[in-house]
C-alpha cells in the first residue's frame, strides 16, 4: 500500500475522539449530552477495533467485536433515555447535578 495513512493515524483519530467524549461526559450537566459523550467514546473504541482488524491482516474478529459494541450501544441508549425521561417527569430537570435523590 503506497498510502501514507498507517495504523497510527487511525489510533490517534480514535484517541482524539475518545478525549472529546470524555470531556463531554465530565463537564456537561445535561444528561443527554453526557449520553452523547458516551456515544463518542464508543465510536472511538470501534475505530480502534476496526483499525486493528484492518492492519492485523484483515482479520474479521475486530469487526465482529465492533458489531457487538454497536448492539450494546443501541441497548444502552434506549435504556438510558427511558431513565432520563422518567427522571425528567419526576424532577422536571435533566441536570445531573440536581438529581441527587434516590427517592422522594
Amino acid at each position: 500500500m503506497t498510502s501514507q495513512i498507517t495504523l497510527t493515524h487511525y489510533v490517534f483519530l480514535s484517541a482524539a475522539l475518545f478525549s472529546l467524549g470524555l470531556f463531554a461526559v465530565l463537564t456537561r450537566r445535561n444528561a443527554i449530552l453526557v449520553l452523547m459523550g458516551i456515544e463518542l467514546i464508543l465510536n472511538a473504541a470501534n475505530i480502534n477495533f476496526i483499525a486493528f482488524s484492518r492492519f492485523g491482516g484483515m482479520n474479521l474478529d475486530g469487526q465482529a467485536a465492533a458489531i457487538f459494541v454497536i448492539i450494546l450501544a443501541a441497548a444502552e441508549a434506549a435504556v438510558a433515555l427511558a431513565i432520563v425521561l422518567n427522571i425528567y417527569q419526576r424532577f422536571r430537570t435533566v441536570n445531573v447535578d440536581d438529581i441527587n435523590k434516590l427517592k422522594e
Binding site: 495513512i5 475505530i47 447535578d97
Partner: protein, 168 residues
C-alpha cells in the same frame, strides 16, 4: 499525497470538527445535529478501513436509531417553545486536566508501541458474507446473548418509559 490520504484527512476533519461542536456547543440542538456528522465521518473512516458492512450498520443503527432517540430525548426533556435550550458546563478546568492526562497517556502509548502489523494487500471486496458466517459459527454464543440483551433492554426501556407516565 494520494487520493486515499486526502479522503482520510477529510473524514478525520469532519469527525473531529463535528465532535468538537458536539462537546463545546452551548445549544443542545446544535450538539445533536453535529453528532450526525460525527457518525457519518466515522462511517467514512470504516469504509476506508475496508469495513463496508460495519459502515452501513453504523449509519443504520447510530444515525437511524440512536440519534433519533437522542433527538427525541432532547425534545421531550427541554421546553422547546419557551426556554432556550442552552446547557451549562461545570468543572471545566479539572476536567480539562483529566482529559489532557488521558489523551497524553493514550497518544504516548500509541506513539511508543511498536504494533505487530500483518500487512494485507487484499482488502476483502465485501465483508458481510464472512461476518455472517462468523456470527453463525465462532461467535454464535455471543450473538445469541447479544440478541437476548437487546430484547430485554428494549422491553425494559419501554416498560420504564411507560409505567411512570401512567402514574403521572
Amino acid at each position: 499525497m494520494e487520493l486515499f490520504d486526502i479522503i482520510f484527512w477529510l473524514f478525520a476533519l469532519i469527525t473531529l470538527g463535528s465532535a468538537v461542536v458536539v462537546v463545546f456547543s452551548r445549544n443542545i440542538i446544535y450538539s445533536a445535529f453535529s453528532l450526525l456528522f460525527t457518525f457519518f465521518g466515522v462511517a467514512g473512516v470504516y469504509v476506508l478501513l475496508g469495513a463496508d458492512f460495519i459502515a452501513v450498520t453504523q449509519i443504520l443503527v447510530y444515525v437511524g436509531g440512536i440519534l433519533v432517540l437522542l433527538v427525541f430525548g432532547v425534545m421531550l426533556t427541554n421546553k422547546v417553545v419557551d426556554v432556550d435550550m442552552k446547557t451549562g458546563t461545570l468543572q471545566v478546568l479539572p476536567a480539562a486536566m483529566v482529559v489532557a492526562l488521558t489523551a497524553g497517556t493514550l497518544c504516548g502509548i500509541f506513539y511508543v508501541t511498536d504494533w505487530r502489523l500483518i500487512p494485507s494487500e487484499n482488502v476483502l471486496p465485501t465483508t458481510a458474507g464472512a461476518l455472517g458466517e462468523m456470527m453463525m459459527t465462532s461467535y454464535l454464543l455471543p450473538f445469541e446473548v447479544a440478541s437476548i440483551v437487546l430484547l430485554v433492554a428494549l422491553v425494559g426501556a419501554a416498560m420504564i418509559a411507560r409505567k411512570e407516565r401512567k402514574q403521572a
